[in-house]
Amino acid sequence: MLNSLFQSRQFGLLVLALIIIVLPFGLQNDFHYDIAIQMGLIAATVVGLNLLVGFAGQISLGHAAFFGVGAYMSAILTGTYGWSPIPVLLFAAVVVGIIAFVVGRPILRLKGHYLSMATLAVGFIIYIIINNERRITGGPDGISVPSLSIFGAELNVFNDYQILGMTLSGTFLWYVLAGVLLLLAVWIAQNIIDSPIGRALRSVHGSEVAARVVGVDTARFKSLVFVISAVYASIMGSFYAHYTGFITPQIASFEHSIVLITMVVLGGMASTLGVILGVVVLKLLPQVLADFQELEMMMFGLILMLTMIFMPKGLLPTLQGLARKYLRKKPEEGV
């Protein structure tokens, strides 16, 4: 009974939903909420990146650029040109999807380190353009972003809202939105993984040549998953821009790309809950380490290095493995 619940594909989603519902009881102030909201938005991005890195086994060291393009398109088109946020968000996702498709086709032929190099280069070029086109993007100083609004209703962290007789803060509503977005992101990712398309994607990782001889057009599937993960990043980038109200080119930088892929690898490649854990850990670690002041950077590097050396499969899969050994249960698939 318990075992079948464990194995069901909804289990991960259920756990996640429970955590999102229970968490507000532990969040004491707006600062806590802020971290939780950022975690939610970044986690949704990383769930998309995991489809590419964890499941299809392709490396991207430039994914933050797609996040950045989504965020900047939202900032510029809503701020400078006064367009409505949601259509802009969708438009940006389409544009990013097209960019990913166009650059993905040639670079996804590359393997291993050449693919890392190419994705890194694409990311850098986009970052440099955002950083240098001051008149449009505001350059290194950043750009402010209007609040998210749907049908004229504005969602602003500084406002309070009357809903069903309750007074809810804008921050709390953003928390709810981020939670829903994350659940949606996970649901869609799981639907993709748990399908013929997902099987084809995983086979690209498992054995590309085997996939091809049974008829999988691997180039097409690599391109598809690259576009999907880029669209994830773009959409979350747009939401992130509206949430923070102010963005800098830093969100499209190489460093941010590294942070994103580290969340995937640290949490556990090909484990949807794992990569979310990776986001939580990497977002909390700086808060904890801030107490160490000038030791912060050194300790961050050290922890990253040691975790990857001793848990090369990532946090969650390693912990699951230990738990399984402890419970002496039959091996089962991670979510």
């Binding site: 869609i188 398309i197 099987r199 990782h205 040549v209 091809r212 001889v213 008829g215």
Partner: protein, 252 residues
């Protein structure tokens, strides 16, 4: 009888060394056709050429009368060709069953939307695919591994799993690259039965194999390679009595 695979004047050079040279032969539909020869004779290279993993330097390969030179392996799979590998190519990040289900990739016509929202049509196709995959696993003798991770299976079982995956694609012709390598006597005997059963279903089998007892027992026709060239071809009886073949095998 019609030629299913027709190879003419096939050359493949690696950095000036010819791995396959001036090779011509044809495989008839319904045959068990074996390619034999000493190590380094170019057998696996030949397989890689036929299945589109390598592109020939020169020559023509026809599948059911259509030239297939330059096609990708997945395009060949669409035309009914499937294969196994000498060095296992199993997706170790999946279960055994999923590996076989992967073989039915071309039979599943689900689109992106039905995937995204798990529409009933997709779920129905998946269930049918799963059923067929389980059948095939039982057919090749891997029935007990349905819920096992591929990475937890033995070498012999994985070899059979690869055959199940290839069969899942409903191929017209299946190329088996040294299926008996690394198997013990009992396993080899079971393999011989399996190949016979496959051939009985009307699937053409092309076989690269070192185990002479197995090859001579099940082949309709043989091609002997030596240093990338054709040394001889014929029925098992003709090959057994061919002086060139005897010389090559005894190191003459």
């Amino acid at each position: 009888m019609s030629a299913l695979i027709e190879v003419t004047g096939l050359d493949k050079a690696f950095g000036g060394v010819n791995a396959v040279e001036g090779l011509s032969f044809s495989v008839n539909a319904g045959q068990v056709y074996s390619v034999i020869g000493p190590n380094g004779a170019g057998k696996t290279t030949l397989f890689n050429l036929i299945t589109g993993i390598y592109t020939p330097t020169k020559g023509e390969i026809k599948l059911r009368g259509e030239s297939v030179v330059g096609l990708e392996p997945n395009q060949l799979a669409e035309r009914g060709m499937c294969r196994t590998f000498q060095n296992l190519q199993i997706c170790m990040n999946m279960t055994a069953l999923e590996n076989v289900m992967l073989g039915r990739h071309l039979q599943l016509k689900s689109n992106f939307l039905s995937t995204l929202f798990r529409l009933p049509s997709m779920l129905r196709d998946e269930a049918a695919c799963r059923e067929r995959a389980i059948e095939l696993m039982e057919f090749v003798g891997c029935g007990q591994y349905v819920n096992t991770e591929a990475s937890a299976m033995s070498y012999g079982a994985l070899k059979r799993l690869e055959i199940a995956r290839a069969l899942a694609a409903d191929p017209k012709v299946i190329l088996l690259d040294e299926p008996a390598a690394g198997l013990n006597g009992t396993e080899t005997a079971a393999l011989e039965d399996l190949i016979r059963k496959v051939a009985q279903q009307g699937i053409t089998v092309v076989l690269v194999e070192h185990d002479m007892k197995l090859v001579m027992g099940i082949s309709d026709y043989l091609l002997v390679l030596n240093y990338g060239r054709k040394l001889a071809e014929g029925t098992p009886e003709q090959i057994r009595n061919n002086p060139d073949v005897i010389a090559a095998y005894l190191g003459g």
